[in-house]
Symmetry: C2
Subunit: 315 residues, 2 copies
Amino acid sequence: MEISRLEITNWLKQLQNNICVALENEDGLGKFTVDNWEREEGGGGITKILSNGNVIEKGGVLFSAVHGKAPEFLFTQNQHSVLKKIKNNNNLHFFATGVSIVIHPINPMVPIIHMNVRYFELFEENEGEVNIINKWFGGGIDLTPHYIVEEDAKFFHSELKNVCNNHHPSYYSKFKTWADDYFFIKHRNETRGIGGIFFDKLQDDDCLNFKQQFNFWKDVGLAFAPTYVELLKRNKNLSYTEKNKQWQLLRRGRYVEFNLIYDKGTQFGLQSNGRVESILMSLPKFASWEYNYTPEHNSLEEKTLKFLRKEINWV
Amino acid sequence: MEISRLEITNWLKQLQNNICVALENEDGLGKFTVDNWEREEGGGGITKILSNGNVIEKGGVLFSAVHGKAPEFLFTQNQHSVLKKIKNNNNLHFFATGVSIVIHPINPMVPIIHMNVRYFELFEENEGEVNIINKWFGGGIDLTPHYIVEEDAKFFHSELKNVCNNHHPSYYSKFKTWADDYFFIKHRNETRGIGGIFFDKLQDDDCLNFKQQFNFWKDVGLAFAPTYVELLKRNKNLSYTEKNKQWQLLRRGRYVEFNLIYDKGTQFGLQSNGRVESILMSLPKFASWEYNYTPEHNSLEEKTLKFLRKEINWV
């Protein structure tokens, strides 16, 4: 049986709810506010934001399902061969749905986390008749510790490896490398954090068929809550100093640089006239930049910087 | 007589020195640190940074003079017709020099200011012989008050208008409109601040000849110090509240958004392998983002937001 848009969006909304409940439980104080919004050109979303909790300073768990005429920039920026062929098709529409999460904790010993699962359709519409040209899943989870703890990094990557291995033996290695390449701050020559997994445009012609891809993709979404809750439990009660907090703000500055310069979701959102407050919920409450900041020799900050590179095998 | 690169760079270095002295005098505490740096592909610069002064929290006054093979992105992003024609020329080099300034004050009642004056050459080099294909001046000054005070805005624009009027009657109107369009945060549908003047690729074929353009351009650079010092004098001793400070951090968040997403100087710098710490000195020490922040009705913050639009005639 075909997997319908409705089945996918319903599943995503349920995922959003479940994740918010899990995060509220672990935070113990903060509650998500809910904003329902509509997009002028078609579709809308549900933006859930938690501010000033016990553990979470600023976090967003967003659902959206938008559609409309396929925007021009898809054809100039997107390398997908099908898109190029159909560049001059005036009846070309897109449908995009997903859940996106960024959590900025108060305690600098707790890592920032990001997760996104998305589904994209490109279709022609002629006199009410819909002809799907292409459809695919994409997603990813990555972790940005302000201080990299090897044990936590190993745990995080093991969880993602387990999810991948349950579906295809090549996936973890492939998608871990993809994350290393994607979550990379080119102008700093450093990774955003310890990476995770990243994938895009999963289709029948990959290792799994569409239904199997869907199952893999769902398991990625389901892995988020237990994995991050475990990292919160491990670290949320650790003590920290003013110096740790200052370092956290500088690392958040780098997070802002990545999101505003490189993140494709942010670019797609801003260019397709998305809801700015939802797209930029990924930015932290406070961030800092200091000219030429260099950590002390042999400090934990210096150790963390040394880990911010590609091709580290955490598992 | 020809205006040489040496004459231009010497003038810029002198400008940098004079501005730093004027800012240190008005600050009363902070001193500029000096970093001399070299660029692997050719050229270098002098980065002067003032941190944690009495009045200035973080400010940079930068000189650079870089050269090298004309990078590929010049041809894809730059609309200049000459560049397009000579796209396939392997001997094409560029020379770029300028002074760039961004000042972030501590007191939210004092505006952020930005200034840039730059000179660009595109030339062929064959067996040591240099053939200049094109050369031009560019620049701009714009003001970003956290709280817009109409009297100060009028003063600021009057000073710029005077500079322009001394050289050509059409300049202020033309370059003021250009600044409105350039210093615009598209995804927020708001201007960065109250604008100022902006111009690029001034050449013989404009209203003035090259020598006259040079004189105009120098006067723009010279206007910076007295104009900003006057604004510092007017506002640096005003009292402010915690709420004013919070608003300042949010406005600085917008400043970060503009600089990382839209600013062409930042893009040119990062893409041409410029010195990252110098390019990103424009980012504030602290910035903040709050989800869906809306100022109180009839507040000074709301009043400021209403002024953040194009086509306001301040003079």
